[in-house]
Structures are given as C-alpha cells and as structure tokens.
C-alpha cells in the first residue's frame, strides 16, 4: 500500500456507482457500488456467471452500462483513462504471424508513454520466447505475454480478468509472483477470479459477487473473522466411529472426510479421544473464502 497521511481518507482512484447492466432476459449486474483505493489490489470474487466480467468491462469502458456510472479519479471516464489503464481480458487473440517482441512493440506504439519492450520482456520473464511466434506459446507463457501487453503503458490501474484460469498450479504460482511484483510498484490492480486462494493471497480487499450483486465486501481476513469464529477439524471417515449427534458440534460430510466445526479445539479433541476416535490423520484448517461463499449463498463457489 502506498504511504498516506494518517487520518485522511484514502482517495478512491475508481468508483462504481449504482451500476446496472441488463441483457435481454438477464440482469447481469444489479445495482452494485464500490470504490477502489489507489495502490490496492481489489478482487471481484464469484462463480462463473456472477457478473464479474461484465462489471470490469463496464469499468474498463468496453461495455456501456444500462445505468449507473464509473468515475476515474472522481471524474467520468475520458480519453486520458485509456492512456492510463492496462487491461488483460479473459481471452484475447493476437495478430497472427507476429513474434512476442513485435506484438509488444505494436501495442507500445498505441500509447504516448510506457515501458521499454526489453524491460517488459524481462519483467514478465518472456526472454526465452521473445522471438517466437505468439501463437506458439504455452498457456502460462501466453498469459504472461497478455500481462506484458496490459503493462505496456506502465498503467496506473491494471485490470486482470481471470488471468490464471486454465493454468497449471506451477504456472499459476509464477503468475502470482508477477502480480506481487506489480503490486510492489504501487499499481492499483483490479482482479476477478473464481479461485478463493488467489483472491486471499493477492487481494487487499475483495467483493464477493453472486447473481449480479455484491454480497460481501472487505479485506479477506476481516470478512472471514466477521463471519467465522471456528476452525475445521478434518478426520478421514474410516477413522470416525463416534456418533456425530452426541458430540455437540456441527459435523459435515465432505466426501472422504468428516468435517467438525468448533471454536474450542482443545475441548473437541478431548471429546474425540474419549470416544476413541483415532487422531493420527487429523488435520486442522482455518475457514476459507470458499466456506464464506457457502455460508452466504448456501451453494458451492465452483458449482
């Protein structure tokens, strides 16, 4: 986070006011409002179809809203906005037969100011592929090129729409490292994702969306602390021989595991030992954003 005088309110770099987007027969965005502070990483989290992409595309100026407005530095979006933001769409095709370096040079030419091509190549670890046809990149390499294109004008605000969807775990971790490096440069990042882990690790604040509405908003840890006071004990079903009802805790069936929700770990462990439940394979996990989504909507995030 950038340094800011204590006691003064943080200026909102982007503000979304009463945004509505209707498509024939569908309300994709249903009257949402939020503000993004300069220098923070703001996450829009939700399942597919929640309205995340529509919301960011309205913020980017790509899709016109049905009603409501988006303010950039307190004013309506204008030509300056295009020069100062970087955008990575969920899926983008690039011009055929151009190399990574040529594609970067093409996009660099659209902006009055920005980063040098070589700096971008280095920053997004594209050095090995700089002279390769952009169509011949792997999924992770391609996403890093798309990120480099979004950074080509050294933007104040960076929009990333599901940037790691479809990547393998290693490529996803590499991408997270890049986003952390961008955050370290004090850039404002707006990230949509349906990976809770990603939102938890990268975002300073999140808004959880479902059916076009925001159902919770705040820093991830604060949201979890507000809604949950317990932890989850996980025991393999094969080891759990006790009667769930007489334990006095909420017990959930989670596939191969039994999940016991408790805010008193010591007491719960004692009760389990008294009932001769083997704790050899016991795991304790904290509540996650996935649990929060289930709690708020009654359904799985990735359903």
């Amino acid at each position: 986070m950038p340094l800011h005088p204590i006691g003064l309110p943080m200026p909102a770099i982007l503000e979304v006011r009463q945004l509505v987007k209707n498509y024939p027969g569908v309300t994709a965005v249903d009257g949402i409002h939020f503000a993004v502070q300069a220098g923070e990483c703001f996450g829009l989290l939700g399942p597919n179809g929640a309205g995340k992409t529509t919301t960011v595309e309205i913020m980017e100026g790509i899709t016109p809203p049905t009603s409501g407005e988006v303010l950039y530095r307190g004013e309506s979006v204008d030509a300056r906005f295009r020069q100062e933001v970087g955008i990575q769409f969920q899926s983008t095709a690039l011009q055929d037969f151009l190399t990574v370096r040529e594609t970067l040079q093409l996009f660099r030419s659209f902006y009055a100011r920005g980063l040098e091509t070589e700096e971008l190549i280095q920053m997004c670890t594209l050095g090995e592929y700089a002279d390769r046809d952009a169509r011949k990149l792997s999924g992770g390499q391609r996403q890093r090129l798309l990120l480099a294109l979004a950074l080509v004008n050294d933007p104040e605000v960076l929009f990333l729409d599901e940037p790691t969807t479809g990547l393998d775990p290693q490529a996803r971790r590499n991408f997270w490292d890049l986003i952390r490096a961008i955050k370290a440069r004090r850039k404002t990042v707006i990230l949509t994702t349906h990976y809770m882990e990603e939102a938890f690790l990268l975002c300073d604040r999140i808004a959880i969306m479902d059916h076009g509405r925001i159902i919770a908003e705040g820093p991830p840890a604060t949201l979890l602390a507000k809604h949950f006071h317990d932890v989850i004990l996980q025991i393999p079903k094969a080891d759990f021989k006790a009667d769930a009802a007489e334990l006095g805790y909420e017990v959930l069936d989670a596939g191969e595991m039994i999940e016991i929700s408790t805010s008193d770990v010591d007491g719960a462990l004692q009760k389990l030992m008294q009932r001769r439940v083997s704790l050899a394979r016991l795991q304790i996990r904290a509540r996650t954003l996935e649990d929060l989504f289930l709690e708020l909507t009654g359904k799985e995030l990735r359903a």
Binding site: I62, R82, I87, S91, L94, L106, F110
Partner: protein, 340 residues
Amino acid sequence: MMRRFLAVLKARNLEFLRDRAALGWNIALPVLIVLGMWLIFSGGDKPLFKVAVLNGATPISQLDNAFLKTRYIDFYGVSDEAQAESKVAHNQSDMLLDLRSPKAPRYWVNETSPKGYVLEKILDGETDVKYARATVSGRAINYVDWLIPGVLGMNMMFSCLFGVGYVIVRYRKNGFLKRLNATPLKAFEFISAQVTSRLLLIMSITVLVFVGVQLLVLFYMAGSYLTLLLVAILGATSMISLGLLVAARVASEEFAGGLLNLATWPMMFLSGVWFSLEGSPAWIQDVARVFPLTQMLEGARRVMLDGQGLADIWPQLLSLACMTALFLLLGSFGFKWKND
C-alpha cells in the same frame, strides 16, 4: 496518430508477407487464369464476320445493296469514320463500308486480317458496283487482350473484398479488435492502416502479375501506364472500402462469407470480366454501372485498348472516388469493435 497508423500498417504487412500460403496463392491464381485463358482463346476468334457500315441517315435495312443481304455477316451501322477505321485496324471489325454516297461506295480492310481478305472476295463476287478500296493497318486486338484487364480486375476484386473482409471479421470474432479497442487506437487509424496495407499488397502483386503476363503473352497496351496505374489504385481502394463496409459489423465468418459472395458474384458476371455487356439489355448495363469493378474495367480497357487518357476516363475515376468515399464513410460510421 501517425505512429499508431504506421505500427498497425507494419504489423498487418508482416502478417501477410509471413503467411506464405496466402501470398503464394495471391500471385499464382491470376497467372494461372490468364495462361489458361490464353491457351484456350489464342486459337482464333469466333467465325462470324463483323462489318461496320457508314450508312448516313438511312437505316441499313433500307439500303439497296446486294452485299448487305449476305448471310452470316453481322452488318452494323456506325457514324464516326475515324473510330470505325481504328476498329478495323485492331481487328475489332473485319471491314468498314461507306455507303453514304451510293455512286461512290468505299471500303476499308486490314491487309493482315484473314477475315478481311475473305470479305473482300465476297464483296467482289456479290456486286458489279466498283468500290474504292482503302487499307488500314494495326495490331489486332484479340479476346485475350480484352480479357486480361478483366481477369486482373477480378483477382483484385476477390483479394480486396475477401482479404479485408475476412481478416476484420476474424479479428472481431476472436477478440483481437476488442483488445485493440481497450487501447487509445482509434477506428479511423485502424481502418486506414488496413486499407493502405491491402492496397500496397494488391498493387505490388497486380503490377508483378501484369509485367509477368505481358512478357509471356505480349498483350495489347495502347495507353499510358501511369493512367492505368491510377485506374487500378482507385479501383482497388473502392473495392477494399466495399470489403470494409461488408465487414463493419459482422462477427460470423460464415455470414461474412455469404455477404462477400453476394457482393462479388454479380460483379464477376455483370462487370464485363469475361464478356462485353454491349449487347445485353439496357437495365442490366445500368445495374452493372453501380459496381466498382465495372467502372475500373471500363477505365482500364479504354486506356489499354483505345489508348484513352485522363480527359476521356474522368467519369470512371470520379465514380470510383465517390464510391470509395461513400463506402468508407458508412464503414467507419457503423464499425463495431466487438462481438456482442
């Protein structure tokens, strides 16, 4: 603005030049067509005799002349003596008869024309009247001379419309246009770069093919190469603009293909690529006039076959320029970056 235009232009040129299959095809196809046509048509013209008659005010059917009753000869009235003579010189007419003064009829033939020779013998046998004989000479204009501008023009038409139309629709369908729209690049900069890139490529290829075919076939070229180049540039620009107009809003390649076929097929048959529309109904000729290819071919043939200059072909050039302006205006106005 210029920097963005030049960057898009360079990128598009690189894309085309690196797409070897498309580049090769663009060069090979017109050469193959012209060579094929030359092989088919170099055997000679149709066995019909065409005789132009300077008939003054009297209709040919009312002239009392035994020769005019000969079957299998197409007699047609003309009034411009110089133009009619030039047609005989170029073998577009086999003979010119002057029957304006019944007492002193005259005729012109081209001594190198076999048909002219045969007609002269028939004329001798059919009549006792003594005709004054005159000869003209010139290089014969064969069907292949007439066809070459048609085939080159048709190839330009396909390359202009499909080359621009499909590329833009593909860019829109796969989201590349949407990505460009997220940058400060303006529609006008993007569109003008596409037009310029396509124009450069089409003109380079057409000039290469023109020179190559001329070396092979030695076709007829009466006028100025610079004037012909101007006709070709204006024609190509108008057809590229038409391609942009077709592709301005469409996001489906299949639909775009249908629209492009709808635009190209009538031009292929009605713009005088393969055969002259001189004998067809007036309304068809009127309809054909609205096609840019018709105007370009008319201009090109006037330069190549009749040796006409800018002073003669300005109506064609003007209509091509007007069509370009109209197509570009409508295309830019209706241009959509993304697929809804």
